[in-house]
Amino acid sequence: MAPSDDVHNVAPEMAIAFFRSILPFNSLDDATLNDLAHHCRVDFYPKGTRILKQGETDITHLYLIQRGGVKAFIEDDQGDVTLKDFRGVGAYIGALGIIRGTPANLNIETVEDTFCFLLPREIFLRLVEQEPSFAHYYLKSFSEKIVTTAYNELRHHKVSNRSGDDLYLFSVRVGDLVKTLRKVSSGSSIQEAAASMAEHRVGSLLVYDPADEENIVGIITDRDLRSKVVAAGLDYNLPVENIMTGPVQTVLSQSLCFDVLLKMMTTSIHHLAVERGGRVIGVVTSHDIMLLQGHSPYYLFKEIRGQQQISGLYVLAQKIPDVIRGLIKEGAKAGNITQMIAILNDHILERMLTLLEKELGPPPVPYCWLLMGSEGRREQTFKTDQDNAILYADPVNDEEKLAAENYFKGFAEKAIGHLVNCGYPLCPGFIMATNPRWCQPLSVWKDYFSKWIDAPDPAELLNATIFFDFRSGFGDSSLARDLRNHLNAKAKEKDIFLFHLARQCMATRVPLSFFKNFIVNKDGEHKNRLDIKGQGLTPFVNFARVLALKNGISETNTLARLKALYDADFINREIWSSANDAYELQMQQRLIHQLSQIEEGVLPDNHINPEQLSDLDKRMLKDAFTIIERLYSVLDKMYPVA
C-alpha cells in the first residue's frame, strides 16, 4: 500500500471549517489549517464516557468538541465530587495538561453523545510555540493553574478544618508567574537592548556579565530608557551597563505572591529577579502580580482584617464584587464562590462589630449576631439584602434586662446603618436586628421557634422559613448552638410541622408554560424570563431544609445539608449527586447572569432570558429542572396528603 500524495491529499473541508469557527484557530492561515486538518482524527464518545481521568490520563491529543458536550469535575481523596465546568461545541479539552506536561488535572466525562477532533500534542505544542495568538490564548492557563492551586488549597482547607485566619487561598508561588527569561550582555549597546525589548515585547531585561552568562549584574526597564536615555539625550551606542540598576533585588521562586507584592510595596522596586536553586529564572513585576492578584480575595481579606475605622470598611465591602468577578472569570465553581462571598461578608461584619463594640463599650450580656436566609445558608450572590437578628443571653434580673435592651437597640441601629453604607440594602421584610421583635434574649427566641413548630400556621410559616436557616455571624456562637439544638429537638418530633413545611415546598411547582422548550414566566415584568431563583433554586433549598429539620441536621448551607443527608443515609447517593450537580449548575448560571448585569450597569436580578443561553446551557438547565420533580416525589412519599 503506497498511496501517492496527490490522491490522498484531499482537504477535509469540514475540519477546516470547524477550525475557522473557533478561537484561537481562526487566526491561522489556510495553509496551516489545511495541514492541521490532515493531522486530525475524529473520535466519538457516547454519553457517559470518561475521556480523561484526573491525575492519571496522559494527554496525547488536544480534544476539540465538534458535537455534544462534556463536564469537568474533580474528585478529592475522600471521593467528594466537585463539578467544575461544562464545555460544549468548540471548547477544548486537555490544553493545560499538554502545556504543563502533566496528566489530566480534571476528570472529563461526556454528558451527551460527543464527537471530538483530536489534534496530536506535538502539533498543538508547536502551534503554541510558533503562533503568538496561541501563546496569548492559552496564557489563560496561568490563571487556570491558579484556580487549580486554589482548589487544592480549598480541599486541603476543608479536610484540615482550619479557621479563617489561615485562608491560604491564592497562595500562588511567584515561580509560577515567571515568563521566559530575557537578558542582555552588559556590553551590548542601549539600542540593541531596546530592540530586543521591542522584539520580545517585554518591559525589562536582565543584564549579565559577558564573562559569565549566569551572573546577573543588573536590570534595565522601559523607565530607564525613558528617563536615563531619551530624556537625558544619552548616546544609544553606549553599553547598557551605563543605565542599568544593579545589583538586582531577588526573591525566591517559592515565595508567595502576596509576600512579593509586600516587598515591592515597601521597597518601591517593581521589578524583581526570581531565583531558583541559586539561578535567576526570570523577572516578576508588580504588574504581573496585580494582574493576577489585584482582586484576590486573600488580599482583600487582609485589608479587612487590618482596618481600624468602620468607615474604611465601606470601601472594602464595595470591592467584594470585583473579587468575585475575578473568581468567576477564572472559572471557579459556584459553590466555592458563594462560600467566598460569605467569608468576605462575614469578615466585614466581624470587623465592623468588633470596632463598634470598642466604640460603645462591652455589651452587658453575651450576644450573638444571627444571619438568616441566604446569608444564613452562605449562599449569597451579588444581591444581598440584610437578613439579621440579635440573640442575647437571658438577663438574670430586670436591671440587666433593661441594660441589654438599651445597649442592643443602639448597637443594632448603628450596625445596620454601617451595613447599609457598606452596600448591603435594608431588608424589605424588616427582618433585621433593629426590629425589636428580632432583637431578643434566648428564651424568647426559643419560644418563637416552639410556636412555629407546635402550632404551625401555614401562612406564618411561609414567612418564617428563612429563620430556620439561621447561623451565627458574630459573637457568642454557643447561643446560636443552643437555639439550634432546641430547634432540632423540637422539629424532629413534630410531624405536623414538617408536613406543612414539605407541602409548602411542593407548592412551588415548576410552571408548565413553555417558551422555546423552556419554562418561563408567562407575563408581567419578567415575561419570557426564567426565574432561576424562585423556580430553579428555591425547590432545592426547601427540600434540603425540610429533610435537615426532620433529621436534626444543623447545617444550613444547602449543599452541606444535602451532603450530610447523604452521609447519614437519609437520601441515596443518586439523589444526592444529581441534586448537588443540578443546584450548583443553576447557581453558576445565576452568578454569571448577575455578573453580566453588573457589567452592563444593571441592578442584578434572578431573571434569565433563555434565548441568551447556549444549547448546552439550556439542556443542562432543563435536566436540572427535572431533578426537582424527583425531589418532590421523595417528599411526597414522606408526607402524603391523606
Binding site: M1, P3, H8, V10, E13, M14, H38, V42
Partner: protein, 237 residues
C-alpha cells in the same frame, strides 16, 4: 449486519493488487478486538442507477484506525466515464462536466483505490450497491473482484434500532427511514453535504463510529460480535 461478500471467481489474469488482497483475506481472523481492524468507509457516485449500463464517476473514502476517523488519509477521485454524455452528471452530483472531462479514466483510478483499501474492511451505507459497481469495474479493468469483507451501516442501523426498541413490538423498524440523511439527523450527527462521494463517505464514517461505539457499550467488542449481532433482540446493551 455483516456481509462476507463472495471473493468472486479468481481469474489468472487478476491484477497483482487484487491477488494480494485475496491472499490477505484468505487467512483473516475475525476474533480480534474491533479497534485492531482498519476500516475504509467508501461511497461512490454513478451516472445513474441502472446496474447494467451505468458507470462510476467518483469514489470517496476515508480510513478508520483505532476506531477513529483518520483525516490524514482520505481518498477522493473523479472518474472520466466512457459511455456517457458528461453534461448529464450535473443533475444530482456536485460534479461539473469540466471536472469529469479532466478526470482520469477508471483503469487509472481503480488500481489506486484497490491499493488504498488493501487489508481493510469496507464500510458503506447500502454497501451492496457500491460493491456491485466496484466489482463490475474491477472485473473489467483488473480481471477480478474485491475480497474485502464489508459492513453495511444501513443494516447496522436496523439492528441498532431493534435493540433500542426492545420489546416494543408496535414499532415496526421497517417503517423507519434508514437514509443516511435521516439517520444523521436522528442521531444528531454533524451534517455533511449530500451527493458528494467524499462527504457521503465522511457522513457514513460518522454514522459507523456512532453505531459501533453505541453497540460496543453493549459488549460488542470483536468483529465476530458485530457479525453475530445480526441476531439482535437476544442481548441487552
Amino acid at each position: 449486519m455483516f456481509d462476507l461478500l463472495n471473493p468472486g471467481t479468481w481469474f489468472p489474469r487478476a491484477a497483482p493488487q487484487l491477488r494480494a488482497n485475496k491472499d490477505f483475506f484468505a487467512s483473516f481472523d475475525q476474533g480480534r478486538p474491533l479497534s485492531e481492524y482498519t476500516f475504509v468507509v467508501c461511497d461512490t457516485e454513478l451516472t445513474g442507477l441502472n446496474k447494467k449500463k451505468d458507470e462510476l464517476i467518483s469514489i470517496g473514502a476515508v480510513t478508520i484506525r483505532d476506531l477513529q476517523i483518520d483525516l490524514s488519509s482520505m481518498f477522493h477521485n473523479f472518474i472520466k466515464p466512457e459511455n456517457m454524455d458528461p453534461t448529464q452528471a450535473t443533475l444530482v452530483h456536485r460534479i461539473t462536466p469540466q471536472q469529469l472531462e479532466a478526470a482520469e479514466p477508471i483503469d487509472v483510478v481503480l488500481p489506486r483505490f484497490v491499493e488504498y483499501i488493501q487489508g481493510s474492511l469496507l464500510v458503506g451505507h447500502h454497501l451492496p450497491l457500491d460493491m456491485h459497481f466496484l466489482n463490475k469495474a474491477t472485473a473489467r479493468v483488473m480481471g477480478g473482484t474485491l475480497s474485502n469483507p464489508g459492513v453495511d451501516t444501513m443494516r447496522m442501523a436496523q439492528g441498532y434500532k431493534r435493540v433500542q426498541l426492545g420489546h416494543y413490538h408496535e414499532h415496526n423498524p421497517r417503517e423507519i427511514s434508514y437514509s443516511l440523511d435521516d439517520l444523521g439527523r436522528e442521531y444528531n450527527l454533524p451534517q455533511f453535504k449530500p451527493h458528494d462521494a467524499l462527504e457521503d463517505a465522511l457522513q457514513t464514517a460518522y454514522l459507523f463510529l456512532y453505531l459501533i461505539k453505541k453497540f460496543r457499550k453493549g459488549g460488542l467488542v470483536t468483529l465476530k460480535d458485530i457479525f453475530q449481532s445480526g441476531r439482535v433482540g437476544s442481548f441487552r446493551y
